[in-house]
Subunit: 325 residues, 3 copies
């Protein structure tokens, strides 16, 4: 498939600067541009690449001011990132889509699968599981008995939905296992990353609400709830019974104590350790997590602690001397 | 199956407050109660839910004092958490149990499997592996050649037992792999979480002792030993050759340096980074890990570091002025 | 197979101290030595084991001075760790090697597999994947469409190569998925740990360069690049578009922000959080990561923060009193 700069510009309501007949047939990162490719510039950190990129066409925001001429044809748009997303979606919609249930998957006879799903080889779907329409389940995913998956859900390879929550009661000699008789509910439009684990509830359900996006290697413990459209980066961990609100964001490797409530639109930085409730709207960092700006300011002083310690010693001495006088 | 409050109370030596003929047929979290369900109250944080829960029956500790009447029938017991565990165990013992070896599992001809095991589809069991009696191996688990699994062991989906330990010796141009010819030994009554990895030893064995419970996504490196009845939350990581004692607890995302000895009954908080030996009985937090209370106290001051820095500057000035005088 | 101490010493250019006819037929850790075994002493922490080890032969560095006689026969060598690696390699080269493609693997008809590969049961290899010669792919690995794997690559069980990068653009009501049409390229001599995830690129490729060794449960996000011979311990996480140089080392659970450049030979300690570029040669610790020594020095003072705070209060008072005078 080939398109001209003009055709692309018309599609995304952009304005061509340069050769409107420039032909593109592929996508490339701006720093790895090649003739025939379309690239985009959105992160200002990468602006210097625009002057030398080998790509034929570059999508760029209207307000980016350039300091010297560029070789590539530019398409000026309001939001280059959104436009490239649209083009990629268009591109992907023209590709053949995988559908159907692999004969190499194990689907319990007591499971229900909706319409137009793709279920890959080596997927295990247990008794009583229900899966909605238009779901994509990649290879080696395990969905334990009784879990409920909504519509348009994507689950990447190796993810485990519905393993037992981690509950053991000490009995003196060892532990009694607390049976985990609940389930996992995953609502519509959720995406679950590779090797991510969502544990079943002790009773009731662990719930991943509509529109949630979980990256890879995340741990969602039993009895947790993740609110609508919340996004979590890789390796985040939630301890049991914690409830996260809607439209929250959690950076990579962040951790949450059990039995806490995170209000809507809380932003938790990478590696933060959240140990208490939030009111919503906070940006948190550190462990235990505090206001992100406060954390960064305190961290800047942290490395000077040896100096501070020394100075206090000197101040003490000086005061002693003054007192003698 | 239906039971009356009286029947349940008799079973767990409780005392009924309210309608002893109240009928229950399911379990529910106290905050999600519904008619016909039995709930429990153990964590004091949830006490306020008892007044309005829709559940028909609530298990509650003898010593909980209530401030107003409750709708539900109460069963007073010594330890509500233990009692609900017992009821859940009873409930689960009445459910059909999965057994047998799935024809979709791969079991080496040179492996030995004990009695009454459940081995799910897409489980891989290598040459020379031995598995004891009454084990449950969930889908997509991989057990490499030569590993030894005890009795009553549960391994959740996606776990990997016996992958090569991480050993490479630099040779100038790259690395020579150090072959990992040891095995993994998992003793009786161990539970291993989903997608957790226990690496084989360079020589000898990586050992998970009797009664250990590992949550999901944990890394146990080569040559490690985890002592009896130690419990680790999700995403904990142990570097190579570290030995953990008995009855220890490690919170989520905690990390341990290599070649250290953690004595019995050490409690390591979430996200801690333990870099040295412990004597046993400590509660540790932070990275590098220190006494947990000390860490929390120091953390409370940490956020005031910018103020401290400013104040020291002011003190210096004031002392200079005093000196001049 | 049996060897005498003399035969081993000749093989590795060592010098025998003790009985050169001592016979060995197995390997053992020095602390778990047994008659007939060969052990090695490399880490000085373990020196005290040499006096009582039951092993028949111990490899030890030339320069290790012993304080009392040892029962075992010693073989003195320049580098005991390298020598044991050599012996283990020899041992392993005499063991039968797994080869061939399991009929229980799924290999797309549109994939290309090189010579002398081992592909285990329940491995999924998608359309357009190419795999070089002499690769070992353990069970339950998933390789998504289009990914390119070099020669002599080892991928441990449960690893996921080429899952979608984590890209979503908010649209007011939820998120639009940014299609991830790129691939993953894994070059020659790479080893990938169990349950590790390497995500496909938005466009172009996520690249793991020649000789890289990744431990278990690592997250490599989309558009990242990991330089030649870089080594990462378990549970490390890279956010998107970050580029790591050659010969770097990252300790367990370390995290890297997105869009940063880590120069060659940067050493990142366990649990560090790297948020900016490096120049190369640094040793970093902490989050945000700073010079490792500086971090350890500041950490030593950190626990005294409550004292520091109290002392500053006292200094203030004393100065006020001096002023009054």
């Amino acid at each position: 498939m080939e398109f001209t700069a003009k055709q692309i510009a018309d599609l995304i309501q952009g304005r061509v600067e340069g050769d409107e007949n420039a032909v593109i047939n592929s996508f490339a990162k701006i720093e790895e541009g090649k003739p025939g490719a379309i690239s985009f510039l959105s992160n200002p950190k990468y602006t210097h690449f625009i002057y030398d990129t080998q790509s034929s066409v570059v999508l760029v925001n209207e307000d980016v001011e350039l300091e010297k001429p560029v070789k590539a044809t530019l398409i000026r748009v309001k939001n280059a990132y959104e436009c490239v997303a649209k083009l990629l979606q268009l591109y992907q919609s023209m590709m053949p889509k995988k559908t159907g249930i692999s004969p190499l998957a194990f689907i319990s006879e007591k499971a229900t699968i909706g319409k137009d799903c793709y279920i890959a080889p080596f997927v295990y779907i247990g008794d009583g599981v229900t899966i909605g329409d238009n779901c994509t389940i990649y290879p080696n995913v395990t969905i334990y008995d009784g879990c409920k998956i909504g519509n348009r859900v994507t689950i990447h390879a190796g993810a485990v939905i519905g393993a037992d929550g981690f509950g053991f009661a000490p009995n003196g000699e060892g532990y009694d296992k607390i049976p985990q008789i609940g389930i996992v509910v995953i609502e519509d439009d959720v995406e679950i990353g590779a090797n991510t684990c969502v544990d079943r509830s002790t009773m009731g359900a662990t719930v991943i609400h509509k529109g949630v996006k979980l990256d890879n290697l995340i741990q969602i413990a039993h009895n947790c709830e993740v609110g609508e459209n919340t996004v979590m980066s890789a390796q985040v961990g939630l301890a049991g019974s914690t409830k996260i609100g809607a439209w929250c964001m959690a950076g990579g490797q962040a951790g949450f104590s059990g039995h806490i409530h995170i209000a809507d639109k809380t932003f938790i930085g990478a590696q933060a350790g959240v140990i208490g409730n939030t009111k919503g709207g906070e940006k948190l960092l550190g462990a235990p997590a505090i206001d992100a700006k406060e954390y960064m300011r305190a961290s800047a002083i942290f490395r000077r602690l040896p100096d501070i310690y020394r100075e206090i010693g000197q101040l003490k001495k000086q005061i002693e001397e003054l007192k003698k006088e």
